[in-house]
Structure formats: structure tokens, C-alpha cells
């Protein structure tokens, strides 16, 4: 029984650690499939994390906190869209600017809440969580955001492969010129995709600050936005493979904490390099076959589109 609970707790911890990566990754995947490379995921996540925590603390409502996080992510993405879609700025440079700006602005706005303890999302929804039997406790720890993230895989996969709008989005990502010639509104679709990416990154940030490690700290995403970006490449822009990648990384993340339980005594600093090293390893594995990667990538990724009228 104790072993079953241990295994269950590892599964639950993996799912929870995978959730922010999956949420942010799904948003970026949709944006990239429309041909827009937004390297600002880390910045959007941090703004979502700070806004979500602050609004929950002010209003006492977790739902309002999540909503604020989504709106914060959308606002950041709108800034990116204005520069790259409307003003045709370089997407790589603008994405980096968004990350640098997000790190600074979230630290500034989140300052009053730094280090303030807060109950986790699961404990908010289930007040009796602490007294539940161990197995039930583990299941209840799977808060709604975990379910939303994994349901999102179905939804995004269906949207991209089966819906008319998804077809148009993919067409725009493969060749904006052809899609434009066929009467598709390239910029409107890209704007929607970028804003969706922002909303999901904001939600991913809120998952960190409201559910996963319920607190706000400067730079608390610790590179997860960048790992999500790498996972989109690893997934060759396919939602199901993204879910697999996020789970793998969720496991690597918790392996840090489990290592000690298995008698491995490495310094916590060295263990915390694991997700970053793993990111490099998966990038190398997936990128080695250059042709395959090029064929899988949206052909118009990163290329600006100038509407001609």
C-alpha cells in the first residue's frame, strides 16, 4: 500500500511539474504553427505568475487570479504582436525584449508580494485536503489546471487537424503569401495565434505561482518558458509529442527531489542543472536530422508578412 502511494505520488508530481511546460508549450505551438516565433514565453509567464498571485491576494479569489494571469499574458503578447506583425520588427529580437521586459516588470509589480505565503490551488478548492487519506490526497492534488493542460492537448490537436480555422492557421504558417492570395487574413490569424500563446503562457505562470509552488518570487519561472520553447521543437510542432515531452521533463524535474530519497547525495545546485542539461540533450537528439526538422517546422516560421493591397 505504501509503495502504491509512493508510485502514485511520483505520477502526480510528474503531472503537476509537466503542467506549466505543457500550458506554455501549447500556446507557443499554436503561435509557431501560424508562422510566428515568440521567444518571449519566459517574460509572459512571469507576468502571468505575478499578476495571478497579486490579484488572488487582493481579491481572495483564485478564479480572478487566473483570469488576471491570462489577461497579463495577453497584454504582453499584444505588445509583441504590435511590434512584429504591425511594425514588422525582427521576431527574435522582439521576443528577447519581451522576456527581458517581463522579468523586470514582474519583479517590480510583484515586489509587495515577494515571499508572502499562500495556500495552493488544490488546498483552496478542497479545504479538507490536509486530512484526507494519502491516496485520495494525491488525486486531489491534481488541480483543474492540470486537467486543463492535458485537455488542451486534445483541443489543440483537434483544432489544428480538424477545424477550418486550424487549417487556415496552418496554411498561414506554411506560406503567408499563398494564404493571402487565397483570401485568408494572414495578420488577423497570426494576431489571434500570438494572443492565444500569451494567454496560455500567462496561465502557465499562474500555475506556478498559485498551484505548483504557491508563492511569488522574482524570476520564479527559472527558465521554464525557454524549456517550453525547446519542447515545441522537440515535439516537431505536434501537440501529442509536446505532451510526451512535457511529461518527460516533469519527471526529470521531480527526479531532482526524488534523487535524495534513493540515496543519491548530490548537491542541490548540481541536481538543479538536470532540466537544463536534459533540454540540451533533447534538442540535440531532435535536431540531428536536419532535413526532418526542416520538413516538420512551419515553413514560414519567423518570416514577417507585409500585406500588399
Amino acid at each position: 500500500m505504501a509503495e502504491a502511494v509512493l508510485i502514485l505520488s511520483i505520477v502526480v508530481a510528474t503531472l503537476r511539474a509537466a503542467t506549466p511546460l505543457l500550458l506554455a508549450g501549447l500556446g507557443e505551438l499554436v503561435a509557431e504553427r501560424s508562422g510566428v516565433l515568440n521567444l518571449g514565453v519566459e517574460g509572459m509567464m512571469l507576468m502571468g505568475a505575478a499578476a495571478g498571485f497579486a490579484v488572488r491576494a487582493l481579491s481572495g479569489s483564485a478564479a480572478l487570479g487566473l483570469l488576471a494571469a491570462i489577461l497579463a499574458g495577453i497584454a504582453m503578447a499584444a505588445l509583441f504582436a504590435l511590434l512584429t506583425l504591425r511594425l514588422l520588427a525582427n521576431q527574435v529580437a522582439t521576443g528577447l525584449a519581451l522576456t527581458i521586459f517581463g522579468i523586470g516588470l514582474s519583479a517590480l509589480t510583484g515586489l509587495p508580494w515577494a515571499g508572502v505565503p499562500a495556500p495552493g490551488l488544490a488546498a483552496t478548492i478542497w479545504p479538507g485536503l490536509a486530512h484526507a487519506p494519502p491516496a485520495l490526497q494525491q488525486v486531489l492534488l491534481l488541480d483543474p489546471l492540470v486537467w486543463i493542460a492535458f485537455a488542451g492537448v486534445f483541443a489543440v490537436d483537434w483544432f489544428l487537424r480538424r477545424s477550418r480555422a486550424g487549417l487556415a492557421l496552418r496554411a498561414v504558417g506554411e506560406s503567408a503569401e499563398v494564404a493571402h492570395a487565397l483570401g485568408t487574413s494572414v495578420l488577423r490569424i497570426r494576431l489571434a495565434a500570438v494572443l492565444f500563446g500569451g494567454a496560455m503562457a500567462g496561465l502557465a505562470g499562474a500555475d506556478l505561482s498559485l498551484a505548483y509552488t504557491p508563492m511569488w518570487a522574482e524570476n520564479m519561472t527559472a527558465g521554464r518558458g525557454w524549456i517550453a520553447l525547446a519542447l515545441v521543437v522537440f515535439a516537431t510542432w505536434k501537440p501529442w509529442r509536446l505532451a510526451a515531452g512535457a511529461l518527460l521533463f516533469g519527471f526529470v524535474t521531480i527526479a531532482q527531489f526524488q534523487a535524495e530519497a534513493f540515496g543519491l547525495s548530490l548537491s542541490p545546485d548540481l541536481l538543479s542543472t538536470l532540466p537544463y542539461l536534459a533540454t540540451i540533450v533533447v534538442l540535440v537528439l531532435i535536431s540531428r536530422d536536419a532535413t526532418r526538422l526542416r520538413l516538420a517546422a512551419p515553413a514560414a516560421l519567423g518570416k514577417p508578412f507585409r500585406p500588399t493591397d
Binding site: L96, L98, L108, W226, S267, I280, L283, S287, R288, L293
Partner: protein, 361 residues
């Protein structure tokens, strides 16, 4: 209002855009201060003017400029060759670790050879750290944006591990920091300030970078690889060479910046040795138009922002995280202003009467 592509990029706008961005940024910063409920004029004065009010302030500015300038030159050379090295922060850290390691290993040993050895190890450490993404890009096609960035986190963890564990000062009351470096392993300071001679090395690196880019074959190949990758391939320029050269130069410069900080004003290894110089240098590189001399000016401006933020914290109790916000805002404004380089703004009038129904064309 509509954007119309210019026939050729505007040379004047190339330099007007950063000025426009800087001016707009001052206005927005003033508004931000108002939002933070401080007097914007007093705060702007503290931010931009107060740091330069004394000779010591100017020396501090030069000191802060040094790492920004070194890192930004490397980043710019890379971007010119279409190699996106976001890893200056990690290369800086590993330069400090490698050079600092030598300084600690030599202990109190004196002699003229110690400092050159420490500096060389710093440069080598940065180069070695930059060699990893270069090898991964060449050998496995792994894009350097993500690998260099991941290695920043790894470098920070390695530094943190060293100063918490093997390199911790046994007499340091358990603080996570190394022993202070011996005098022979520490950079001399100038004129009673904290400024070290590495500032002049950095100022010399700018014309060297300009010579490399504009007047050598290697630099020509780098620029062609950036501007027209296909042309570079047809001309038989080695893509490997481009990636290796630009990353090794960038790593060496960032490594020098790192060791110059720990063997200079800091004097030992500790968990935090950089307030994000490696990231701020990306902004400096763009603000300086990826041109070495522009970068000198941009690094002075960015250094001023760091110093000014220190002053704001001291006198107005404003948080230091303000720096990052202002830096990000500046880069945004620059990217927006840059639109004017390649485009002109056309104010479209209402549709002319010629299109009115029934009119003759």
C-alpha cells in the same frame, strides 16, 4: 497611417532611431516614476545626471561599462553573422569560475605571472563555455539560442555549487563565498577609484572588432554569412568557421568580462557576480546598431542606467528591479523606432473622389 517600404534603408534613420528611442524612453520613464508616486524630475535627475556629478562617479560608470561593452561586442559580432548567442551571462560566469579557480589554486603565491594566468584562464573559461553551443550547432544542428540560454542556468548552478561547497572559504563564517583573491591575483585599481585597466582593454576591443568586421577576410565572411547565407554557401565560405569564430570571440570577451569583475571590484567568488550584464549586453548590442563604436556609446548609456538605479534605490527607496523594466522598455522602443529605417510613414488621405460611384476614371 500606413508603412511603405523604402527603396533602400535610410542611413540617417539608422542613427536617428536609437536617439528617438532613448528620448521616448526618458519620457516614459518619467511617467513610470509618476505612477510610482515619486517626483519624476528629481528621479530622472538621480537616474541620468547624479551618477556623473563626480570624478568617482565617472570612474564607476567606466567600471560598469566594461563588462557590458565586452559582452555586447561579442554578441554583435555573432548577430552580424546570424549566430544568436544569448549565452554571454553564462560565458561571463564560467570566465569568472575558471579564472577564479586559478586564483584560488595559486593561493597566496606572488609573482608577476599570476595575474596574466588568471586573466588567460578567464578568457579560456568563457571560450570553452561558448565552444559547447558551437559544437552542438555544427555537430548536431542544435540551435544556439536555446543551447546558449540553457547553459546560462547551468553555469549559474555550477558557480553556486562551488561557493556553497568545494570552494567555500573555511574561515568565512559559513557564508557561500570563496576566500578573497591574493593581491597578486587581483587587478590594480587606478587613481584611487575602483576602475581597473580592463576598461581600456574593452575600449581597445571596440576598434579591434571594427577592424575584424570591416577590414579582414574573416570579418567579411562573417558579414556575408549574416546578410546572405545562400551567397556565403555558394562562395564556399565555411559555415562551421563562422559559427566557431563568432562564438569563440564572444565567449572569450564575456569570459574576460567575468574574470575582470571577480578579480576586480568583487575580489572573490560569490553566488551572484552579475546583475544581468550578459542579458543587458544584448540590448546594448542592438542599441549600438551592432556597430562597435555605436556599442561603446550604448554601453555607457546602459551603465548609466545601472548606476542611476543604484542611486534611486539609495535615495528614493525604489526597487532595483526597475533596471530590468527600463532596459526592456528601451529595447522595445528601439525595435519600434527601427521600423522607420526600412519604412516611411505614409499618411493616407480619405479615398479620392475618383472612386465615387458614377465618376469617370
Amino acid at each position: 497611417m500606413r508603412l511603405e517600404k523604402r527603396e533602400a534603408p535610410s542611413a540617417a534613420m539608422l542613427w536617428v532611431a536609437p536617439l528617438l528611442a532613448a528620448a521616448t524612453s526618458v519620457v516614459l520613464t518619467g511617467l513610470l516614476f509618476t505612477a510610482l508616486r515619486v517626483n519624476p524630475f528629481a528621479a530622472l535627475r538621480l537616474l541620468y545626471l547624479a551618477p556623473l556629478a563626480s570624478a568617482n562617479g565617472v570612474a564607476e560608470l567606466a567600471l560598469k561599462m566594461t563588462p557590458l561593452l565586452l559582452c555586447a561586442l561579442g554578441i554583435a559580432i555573432g548577430v552580424r553573422a546570424n549566430v544568436w548567442n544569448i549565452g554571454a551571462e553564462g560565458q561571463f560566469t564560467m570566465g569568472a569560475v575558471a579564472g577564479g579557480g586559478i586564483a584560488l589554486a595559486l593561493g597566496p603565491a606572488g609573482g608577476w605571472y599570476v595575474l596574466p594566468l588568471v586573466l588567460a584562464a578567464g578568457i579560456a573559461g568563457g571560450m570553452a563555455w561558448a565552444a559547447i553551443p558551437a559544437a552542438l550547432r555544427i555537430g548536431a544542428n542544435a540551435h544556439e539560442i536555446l543551447t546558449t540560454l540553457m547553459l546560462n542556468y547551468v553555469a549559474q548552478d555550477i558557480l553556486s555549487w562551488l561557493v556553497h561547497g568545494p570552494w567555500r572559504d573555511p574561515q568565512g563564517f559559513n557564508f557561500p563565498q570563496s576566500r578573497t583573491f591574493a593581491d597578486a591575483a587581483t587587478l590594480p585599481t587606478l587613481w584611487g577609484t575602483r576602475l581597473t585597466p580592463i576598461f581600456f582593454v574593452a575600449m581597445l576591443a571596440a576598434p579591434c572588432a571594427w577592424l575584424l568586421l570591416q577590414h579582414t577576410t574573416a570579418g567579411y565572411r562573417l558579414r556575408v554569412a549574416g546578410l546572405a547565407p545562400a551567397a556565403a554557401r555558394y562562395a564556399g565560405f565555411s559555415a562551421r568557421g563562422t559559427v566557431w569564430l563568432s562564438l569563440l570571440i564572444a565567449g572569450g570577451l564575456a569570459g574576460l568580462a567575468g574574470i575582470a569583475e571577480v578579480a576586480g571590484p568583487i575580489g572573490q567568488l560569490m553566488p551572484t557576480i552579475s546583475p544581468g550584464y550578459g542579458y543587458a549586453a544584448i540590448i546594448v548590442a542592438f542599441l549600438g546598431r551592432l556597430e562597435p563604436f555605436g556599442i561603446v556609446v550604448a554601453s555607457a548609456l546602459m551603465a548609466l542606467l545601472y548606476l542611476g538605479a543604484d542611486g534611486l534605490q539609495m535615495h528614493l527607496q525604489l526597487p532595483l528591479s526597475l533596471t530590468g523594466t527600463l532596459q526592456g522598455m528601451l529595447l522595445f522602443l528601439l525595435l519600434a523606432a527601427d521600423v522607420l529605417v526600412a519604412n516611411r510613414v505614409v499618411w493616407r488621405r480619405a479615398p479620392a473622389a475618383a472612386h465615387a460611384p458614377g465618376s469617370m476614371r
